[in-house]
Symmetry: C2
Subunit: 158 residues, 2 copies
């Protein structure tokens, strides 16, 4: 493990670097301007109406302080609306707009193409194995980052 090229940490950084580049290239080629992070947030908001930001952070494993800026940019693009919470006035409820939903639908093929491109050097069997192993390693390390994944916990926090 003395060599950088055998270190999981280096490989993780490099694979993510390529994954982001591929994502942005595919999305731009499809005529859109959305980052991977913005896409994940938009998809989660679409699937969970009136989501608050902390729950969103848990669903997609973002740091809570990162969410603020991401939502700022999605709102500025008119893809989501952020409004004051009803039950809890500290919280913000997130809703996808019509334009947000149209964008999400239209962009999905590009996103899926990007996923395939990221592993284009692997056979289908190898790609599935890579996915399985990453999932397993991530599950074991979930609590080690400041932004762990939090499963849905019902439909929403009550």
């Amino acid at each position: 493990m003395t060599e950088m090229r055998d270190m999981p940490g280096h490989l993780a950084r490099r694979f993510q670097q390529i994954a982001v580049a591929v994502f942005l290239a595919e999305v731009e080629a499809a005529g859109f301007d959305l980052t991977p992070v913005q896409y994940a947030a938009l998809a989660a908001i679409a699937a969970n109406p009136a989501l608050d930001q902390i729950t969103l952070a848990g669903l997609i494993a973002y740091d809570r302080t990162t969410i603020t800026g991401v939502i700022d940019r999605l709102a500025q693009k008119n893809l989501v609306i952020r409004r004051a919470g009803v039950r809890d006035r500290r919280s913000r409820e997130l809703l996808i707009t019509e334009e947000g939903r149209r964008t999400l639908d239209a962009i999905t093929p590009a996103v899926e193409a990007a996923q395939r491109l990221m592993v284009r050097g692997l056979t289908k069997v190898e790609a599935n194995e890579l996915i399985r192993l990453m999932q397993k390693a991530i599950a074991a390390g979930n609590e080690l980052s400041r932004a762990p994944l939090r499963e849905d916990a019902g439909t929403q926090r009550q």
Copy 2:
């Protein structure tokens, strides 16, 4: 692939997120203050005296504009020296300091412990397979990011 949890892009981001957190925790526990990126740069500079920044960027697959700031911080910590190039006055030659070398030697056990922690949910065989598959996917996608890996090309350019 409709589900985020099966998307290589999401898994790449998540695995890298955990890898960085583990690295920082181990390094801090060992009494040091170095990021993964700074560590990789320091190790490359130690192994390649009088490296210029573009070659360094290729060796560790960083964007060239990122290198400037990373070297700024390493120099501020007195771990490396950046001096004007002799053959080419546009370039900067990078050299590790005595303190840099001591730090590198002292920090290596923590870095290696971090590499093992990142894959602690996997068997040894699985960890090796994950490394192999990431290497293969990365090799196929090397040219897709702005900062591809450039092999050593001899000891140094020209």
